[in-house]
């Protein structure tokens, strides 16, 4: 562990014309830390995530990322080539819909291997061995390696997407509703897997979710958003057990009790 954050976000805002995407968001993210961003639909969670992952450019504000050499780099001042390189080496992005993050027409093995080939690995045997290893880590049978993700169930696709993102050993992973659209038993296994991987690899992650249970399980820290603004942030357990902002209280009390 280090005493310097991995990502520093200061006064980040994104406006769509006169509409607010997210407004004046600031936080630090430390290595190995999982931060959950929760809130209802339209609260600006995904806009924030897209800005942080440089898929969108913010209207104002800054975000600096500590590169592997220890130097902080301002994300929005990097060249597109550098950002894309960061995106496929040091970062991962897990989409809610696996079809957005996978290449549906190439095999599972090639999906996992693509990042390795993108950073210059040119040894088929080695790429394949790494792919096999990663498929087993996300609990996909080795004999499915040459199948296309089209032939996979939703849960398998999501696990494949995770393997594809983690194969280059990223330090920061963005997740947009990683368990959305999965049934509860599959969700539980996926969460279990994610928790294991995050701990084993010491990943930092920013997880956007509307599901407070997911946030509780995965994250150490939490930000609650409403209308593009952060209304409350703090340790996950504290926010969920002792919500202070009226909106957070509403959110927590809206959880269905079974």
């Amino acid at each position: 562990m280090t005493d310097e954050p991995l990502l520093r976000v200061a006064a980040l805002s994104k406006f769509y014309g006169s509409r607010v995407g997210c407004d004046n968001v600031s936080f630090d993210l430390w290595p190995g830390e999982v931060l959950a961003v929760v809130g209802e639909s339209g609260s600006g969670k995904t806009t924030l995530l897209n800005c942080l992952s440089t898929r969108l450019l913010p209207s104002s504000g800054t975000a600096s990322y500590r590169m592997r050499d220890g130097q902080f780099r301002e994300l929005y001042r990097m060249s597109e080539a550098e950002r894309r390189f960061l995106m496929r080496t040091d970062w991962g992005f897990v989409h809610q819909n696996p079809a957005d993050g996978l290449r549906m027409t190439v095999s599972a093995g090639a999906n996992v291997g693509e990042r390795l080939m993108a950073v210059g690995d040119r040894h088929y045997g080695r790429i394949r061995a790494t792919a096999v290893d990663w498929l087993s880590r996300v609990e996909i049978d080795e004999d499915r390696i040459d199948d296309e993700p089209r032939a996979f169930s939703g849960g398998m696709r999501q696990r494949l997407q995770i393997a594809r993102n983690l194969v280059t050993g990223p330090r920061l992973v963005f997740m947009d509703e990683p368990t959305g659209g999965l049934d509860v038993s599959v969700q539980a296994r996926l969460l279990d897997l994610l928790r294991g991987l995050v701990t084993d690899l010491g990943l930092a992650a920013i997880v956007v979710t509307h599901d407070l249970a997911v946030a509780r399980l995965l994250s150490q820290r939490m930000m609650v958003m409403k209308d593009g603004r952060v209304v409350e942030s703090g340790l996950t357990d504290r926010v969920l057990d002792d919500p202070r902002a009226p909106y957070t209280q509403l959110l927590v009390s809206s959880i269905l009790q079974v």
Binding site: A81, R88, S107, A110, E114, M117, H123, I127
Partner: protein
């Protein structure tokens, strides 16, 4: 055959030729880079060589000698028509002899006879974008070229090995030009890829429908992509040409009857005819008309 008054020299107007020459110059300056150009309607359908014809029309002069091949052959419809076209609109000399041609327009083969620095090879290209079937968005493929993100190209080769145990791509085999741009060598068999490497002849590529021109200047590095443990290999044939007994050339399979009879013959007809004229005999070569070759001489 000197009456060309109804057409400008070589069919295209001078402004168009100038525009295309600019695209060609840019292409030569950035080897392997696809230069957009304002492709014109030609008196032939897309897919029949409109790109190649426009490039040829822009570089041809009255003293040039033109050869046109289609899948290696001088005597197929496309080759014969394009040759007749330029004879009519530019009144240039035409030939089927590789060595005496100054411009060779080709569809999907590089002649077996080595080319020289005095020759230009013009390729007809259907789909210039090597990444097209992996990434359908043009905006994205352009960005990938610009940022030199070519990992995806290897994904295709990986898929080949995973499915077939070897790289099964046999034509349009992607190459890297001068260590920078990944380029589609047009659907030539990969057998011809090594001939592009450090070729003394200028190689120009025209894609009429897709409106792109690209080029490989003489003596440019052209390297076929591969894996360390699955290196690039060209096709090999078990038997020599059935007509001229040539080995180490690209062969076409010709079906002889309805009972599975077939033979393999040179795809480069000029090469085959020359060898037979020199007295080489394959095991299926007819005994008669020895010196003249069996195929109709092209016009």
């Amino acid at each position: 055959m000197t009456d060309i008054a109804t057409y400008n020299f070589a069919y295209l107007d001078e402004q168009t030729k100038r525009m295309i020459r600019r695209a060609i110059l840019k292409g030569i300056a950035i080897p392997g880079y696809q230069v957009p150009f304002a492709s014109r309607e030609m008196p032939m359908p897309y897919g029949w060589g409109t790109g190649g014809v426009q490039v040829t029309a822009s570089i041809i002069g009255p003293d040039d000698v033109l050869k046109v091949i289609d899948q290696g052959a001088d005597d197929t419809t496309n080759a014969v028509s394009i040759r007749a076209f330029f004879k009519k609109v530019a009144n240039v000399a035409v030939t089927t002899d590789t060595a005496s041609a100054t411009i060779i327009q080709t569809r999907h083969r590089i002649p077996e006879h080595p080319l020289t620095a005095a020759q230009v090879l013009v390729y007809q290209v259907p789909i210039p974008e090597p990444l097209r079937f992996l990434e359908p968005r043009e905006t994205e493929t352009r960005k990938m070229h610009a940022l030199e993100e070519y990992g995806l190209m290897h994904v295709k080769l990986y898929e080949d090995i995973a499915k077939h145990g070897r790289i099964a791509t046999t034509y349009a085999y992607p190459v890297k030009v001068e260590g920078r741009y990944v380029m589609d060598p047009s659907p030539t068999p990969k057998f011809d890829n090594p001939k592009m490497h450090r070729s003394p002849a200028l190689q120009l590529f025209g894609a009429g429908r897709e409106k792109r021109i690209y080029a490989v200047p003489p003596f440019t590095e052209v390297v076929s992509l591969d894996f360390e443990d699955h290196p690039f290999e060209v096709q090999t044939f078990d038997q020599p040409c059935a007509l001229c007994a040539a080995e180490n050339v690209y062969l076409d399979e010709v079906i002889l009857d309805d009972h599975g009879g077939h033979m393999f013959v040179c795809s480069d007809t000029d090469h085959c005819e020359k060898r037979r004229a020199d007295g080489h005999r394959g095991h299926l070569a007819p005994e008669s008309h020895l010196a003249s070759g069996t195929r109709e001489p092209a016009q």
